[in-house]
Symmetry: C2
Subunit: 341 residues, 2 copies
């Protein structure tokens, strides 16, 4: 099937609610972002493998440009903008905003980012470091979307964080790379917030001659993707409560359509499991992974513990999606008691 | 000059106080440990380069087997043991102990490790994970040495943590690798506790056709190497007070002799500077670096801020020596207030 990437992204964004992407659309997307992103390494840990009883291949997007996978989709969307584009706008918990600012800066364009006032401080700093302008809003989906609409009304081109075929196609490059780096994966697990990374991963897995089970990992406190898949349509009640700040957004309609089409499952994990998965990656991989970035490992850990036989010796790809969080308060805990008095 | 590695390490350990190593002794040492250690990657950060005004090449020993450079020396010493060796013993704040346990385990030998009762919990666990037996002692140099003597009296072969030519030659493989990975380094900075890594680095730099300035980075609260170099002989008063638990040991005599011979300088840094360097590496490299592991960056930061012109555009190798610390209390800080009630 021919590539169906939209020529007029704004129309596309406002009118279409089912993704038009085909698996092979990932190929031109990947060409467009070559040189703008890193092929991130895959890490392993004997200790984690031993604890889980399977072979885990960690795809390290915390080492990606801007510290998360988001630059993949943002670079792709920016590569498709008209020459005359006056600048871009989006809403984001932080990582997409920083990625879009970086991608726009590389083209000399201004970037405006609507962020919840509760956003992680280092994520706000990252948007500004790459020249982006931050517009704070209340931490609700409605406020984020209203903030973006106002910027679009001013003439800026919207580059939504996930519900956009340009974005999904770009994020798909992550799983494409992983499937090239590790042959014969049985399972691929990606976190799901808005669903850009997960939908892109499903497209990438569909290109494999091998049958690969694709699983979305979602915080139980923001289980809109799970509930939406179960009911067959996107939920309209969504009050996220999770430390995984990157996964609080409402799953996108295009993203959901791809999850349905490729029969993606979702596993939900609680906050304890997320904290435990973070501790595992920090301790044994020596990698700083943000809460959202550890959710895929948390899901694997839950699944492998519940049914060790089913997971025994399985080859599992786990996407560590990012590593942006406020480090300083954590380092402060090392200060000897009384030393700061 | 011919290799002068000792045939009888015990004699060597007890009788010699000046290192007999020549720079080319690093070559056979490196061959002996090939396949037992990893060639760790070198990382960069545009943001850190921008802040310091020079080009920083981070040698990532937190990604080494056992999470620190210590496996280099430990593997080397173990490769030189007699067939009849009944087992090994050492004292260690943790990283050398874990490395020696791992190296001994690979040869089917028991390992006994004297550790201060204040040792980092995850370091104690690591020694045990690799099959080592931990013997706790008071956190003083005298208690550590007395504990080791008792084990040697039981017949175990001592593999001291740093004051040993086998160890120094093994640690030298780290800087050798770095100098192959990055050509034209102007400066090489390594942390100094007992001085194994720093002395090995000085030997490696001496093999370079290029003049490379070698700098030891030491906590001000454990500045025995600095004071020893200044006075010309090893200090005898040493009451370390620093969060850099891996750098509290008293500098070794052989290590000091090599530092003198190769005109190594030492820069001391305070605790704030160590915490700041940790925050930098965690935030921008996404790497978990223990306090001792961040001391070389802290020294570079101090030097580059004090004299920006002298450091401008310099190519600086910084050894991140390890990444072992207790992660769980840091992750706990992410728990929303009240959630654990």
């Amino acid at each position: 099937m021919p590539s169906t990437l939209p020529r007029h992204p704004v129309q596309h964004y406002t009118e279409m609610t089912v993704s038009q992407l085909e698996p092979d659309d990932l190929l031109p997307a990947r060409e467009r972002i070559a040189g703008k992103i890193l092929a991130t390494p895959v890490m392993r840990s004997e200790i984690i493998d031993g604890q889980l009883g399977c072979q885990v291949y960690f795809k390290c997007e915390q080492l990606q440009v801007t510290g998360s996978f988001k630059i993949r989709g943002a670079s792709h969307a920016v590569s498709l903008l008209d020459e005359a584009c006056p600048g871009v706008a989006t809403h984001s918990s932080g990582n997409h905003g920083a990625a879009l600012a970086k991608a726009a800066q590389a083209r000399g364009l201004p970037a405006h980012v609507v962020m919840p006032e509760t956003a992680v401080r280092s994520k706000v700093e990252a948007v500004r470091r790459f020249g982006g302008t931050v517009h704070f809003c209340e931490p609700t989906q409605a406020a984020r979307e209203a903030g973006l609409r106002a910027l679009v009304d001013e003439g800026f081109e919207p580059v939504p964080p996930y519900d956009d075929d340009r974005i999904i196609a770009g994020q798909g490059s992550c799983a494409m790379e992983l499937l090239e780096q590790v042959s014969d994966l049985d399972v691929l697990i990606a976190p799901v917030g808005g669903g850009g990374l997960l939908a892109g991963s499903a497209l990438a897995a569909a290109r494999s001659p091998r049958e690969i089970r694709v699983i979305g990992a979602e915080p139980a406190g923001a289980d809109d993707a799970k509930r939406s898949l179960r009911s067959g349509q996107r939920v309209d009640r969504h009050e996220p409560d999770t430390i995984a700040d990157g996964l609080r957004a409402l799953v996108g309609l295009r993203n959901l359509s791809l999850m349905q089409r490729f029969q993606v499952e979702v596993i939900t994990v609680d906050e304890e499991q997320i904290l435990e998965a973070m501790t595992l990656t920090w301790t044994h991989l020596k990698q700083v992974i943000e809460p959202s970035g550890a959710v895929a490992l948390a899901a694997l850990q839950l699944a492998a513990r519940s049914n060790p036989e089913a997971w025994s010796a399985k080859r599992v790809g786990v996407i560590l999606s990012g590593g942006n969080l406020d480090i300083q308060p954590m380092i402060e805990t090392l200060r000897p008691t009384g030393a700061s008095e």
